[in-house]
Symmetry: C4
Subunit: 276 residues, 4 copies
């Protein structure tokens, strides 16, 4: 962390900083666990609010709880700004914006009358869980998964780009074949949507071919999709296998040039030639 | 096994113990095979009982058979307790509880009048098959599979947790997009259910997007799911590959050049030629 | 081949034997290609015959063609018996029975009046293609695939057995949850069928849960299926990887003990210790 | 490139050649990016034209834009011929034919009155994107993916051929089982289509078995498909893994001990310590 732009914190602020932003102290852990529970309950409330039956029955309770959670999160947000070493950096950061987005909808709805979708923005509170994730013992595993995906990102993007072009071409061909038979292929965009549904083997069945040629061509697309699904799997597996092997690499450090990464069967440093 | 808490068994009890709990003797094998057949038939009866056509026709037969099986399993249960070295440990063990759960529903139904679901608990008899599994020649294979899953458990749990958060967020977005168009996205929980159905490429089609934006967003989710399915596959494949390799590598070290990595079938060091 | 039980063939029979049973000679290749084409056409005719529109229009033509193909295959069958070194072994072999099954239905139908399904048995003619497969240049590839599947057969069987038990248990639970809500879960066998459709991510949608608990439980099953699909993939990939690596293994043979299978980096024979 | 058959180009033509056919110069890059945007817009227009709502509203605009794009692509086509070193080779090449197919439909429609499908041929303009692909930074990744698929092509073809035979046999059996129960299995080709839909786990649900035997057999097919999907995944993963490993292994041999297998970043032999 760049210490130059940090402001001075009072000991009281420092204590709260370690509780809110860190998870090493017992108090910090308790804070994170309470926050996790509050977030989960608030998300559950938003989800239940969308169910018509519950909405009618518990409307008042939902409103009260929503204000309770909004106030809790607002106090937490103010505390985070107050005890941050660099308040502006926090406010402008990804998690700072998420934190703000989680409390704004309730106020906006109160003052301006709320649009329907404002309420659902609060589901973004779930994103806050990722920050608390630092306290779970699975951090190492999630890092490895993220690393494997990071390494195979470029190959997967090329693959997805190719899939996109393929579905546009396949969808258009199906549109030409099926559009006169009233089977749901009403336009090229809809046919492309169908091609994605088919190639990924989701297969809703809301749109399905009815002509013999259309069905034959669909069968071809499905078998193609069956073979294509092997590609991302192959990419990620190879990348994970490499990461796993690198873990196994020898931990020895060359006594002469101090570099590591030597194979397990190496007798001499591969960088400077001195004996390991 | 801790022998201190074992009670003394008479020779007669010991004989039955080896028949019931072990599969090494011919009598034990015969017992296990008969038990396997009885379990499979009793499960088949429960399944057939649920079919309305059969239920009406053979109601009496089903009742008689159910009592026959319950009495067989009750006798077996009493025998297991009677000839066990540690009866209390058996009764409290996982399989002990399963064994009890398999016979209780019939009695409960007889004395108190049966709830609908009581009958179906008897399907749990299938779980008993896993115990008999010890006699099949596939034990080693199932151990290897279980080990590979055990090793990748933590990574898979992180993955599933991530999938859960993702489906909640994606489902909520689809709810905002589609809820006004009467297309089945009636609440956020239902939309989350749809997101799971779509991301896992199951695709029932009971709920399907009808708006262009909803269909475009769905296509995006499907392609995402297509790439995401690579992750658990990669995890398990890498783990299995490692287990397979570890099996093959010998732990022996050459007494002359002190190098290892010899094949399991090697008699001489492949580096210096001295006897292993 | 065991030569003791072979009968003597005249030179004329021998010539036909090499044409019919082997694919090394030009005449044998021509015979195989003609047979391949005749088989494909006859299968196409059977398929088209099942389409009501074609059946009505070309009924007479189909009958004539069916007799033509049956007579061709009958002559071929007689020839195969006549020029075989061991006629009885051929008649009783897998392909001998397939060959007979491909011509019998037409005769049975003619003399006894045909059952509906008799006609479809003729689709088994497709199986005959596998015999001709020996002439295609892909033989090596198909052998490798078969070998990889052969090696992983036991693991896959354990896996499928586990899936079977799992679907019975999951289907029964869904039956208890959904059977009172008229959503298609009419009996345990049907619910087990639904569990297979869901766990394999096929997802027809002919049966779909309607209760919130049923949908939540289904979502769980789907995510489980998403993780489980990794298992067979892992098994086969590891097996293929091993086969591929074994191919790469050094071709050197020990000059002393004449054994092979040495690693590429071995300097001495790992069996007898002599220099390679 | 074979220089013998090249014609002489004037410096003016040469300049245009480098702009149109190459992407190394700034002008060439700008040309490619503009072309990419024009192609994407023209494809989007074709897609929107197929939507009835847009068609009615913006019919005139679509016609004007279509002519604008056709004239742009025509000019580009003439330029490509004019400044090509070997005009005939270009016209007859794959991309030359695609370029022609992209402009012809509009003219054909104008002079002869257009068939419905003529318009959709213009979607083929998307194929032109692959040519421009040379300028993106992902070229290396797409080459690797293509190479891995190229290497596993033969195995995948054997696999798809086997799948084809399997679906014909499975579809025919289902036709025999279900055809009398009015459940959509109206003919063998339709049943084969269903078998593909099921085996690939797409599962539309437009055709679904209704008889108990049919459902049991379907469940079997699905579980089979679940295991079969592992095959192409295994093939591609192994091939990718090999390509990845080959990349990493250095071809250098130690001048002192003559051993190889050094890492790409090694400066000294890891076995004897001498300089590589």
């Amino acid at each position: 962390m760049n210490t130059r732009t940090q402001r001075e914190l009072s000991p009281f602020q420092q204590r709260w900083h370690s509780i809110i932003f860190e998870a090493d102290t017992p108090a910090g852990k308790v804070f994170d666990i309470i926050l996790l529970i509050v977030i989960l309950i608030s998300v559950a409330i938003v989800m239940m609010e969308s169910v018509t039956g519950f909405k009618v029955k518990y409307d008042h309770l939902f409103r009260v709880l929503e204000w309770v959670f909004t106030i809790i999160f607002t106090i937490e947000y103010i505390f985070r700004v107050w005890c941050s070493y660099r308040p502006k950096a926090y406010v402008g950061s990804f998690y700072g914006l998420i934190d703000l987005l989680c409390i704004l909808p309730t106020y906006v709805e109160f003052f301006f009358g709320g649009a329907h979708f404002l309420l659902t923005i609060r589901i973004l509170r779930l994103m806050r869980i990722f920050r608390i994730f630092k306290l779970v013992p699975f951090l190492n595993e999630s890092k490895q998964l993220a690393l494997a995906l990071e390494h195979s990102k470029r190959k997967i993007m090329v693959f997805l780009f190719f899939i996109l072009l393929l579905t546009v071409v396949l969808g258009s061909i199906m549109y030409v074949i099926e559009s006169d038979y009233n089977s749901g292929f009403t336009s090229i965009p809809v046919s492309v949507y169908w091609a994605v549904v088919t190639l990924t083997t989701v297969g809703y069945g809301d749109i399905a071919p009815v002509t013999p040629i259309g069905q034959a061509f669909s069968a071809l697309i499905m078998i193609m999709g069956y073979a294509i699904i092997a590609v991302p799997t192959g990419i990620v597996t190879v990348e994970m296998s490499r990461l796993r092997n690198e873990e196994d690499v020898d931990q020895r450090i060359c006594p002469h040039c101090m570099r590591e990464g030597h194979d397990a069967n190496a007798d001499y440093c591969k960088y400077c030639g001195s004996k390991l």
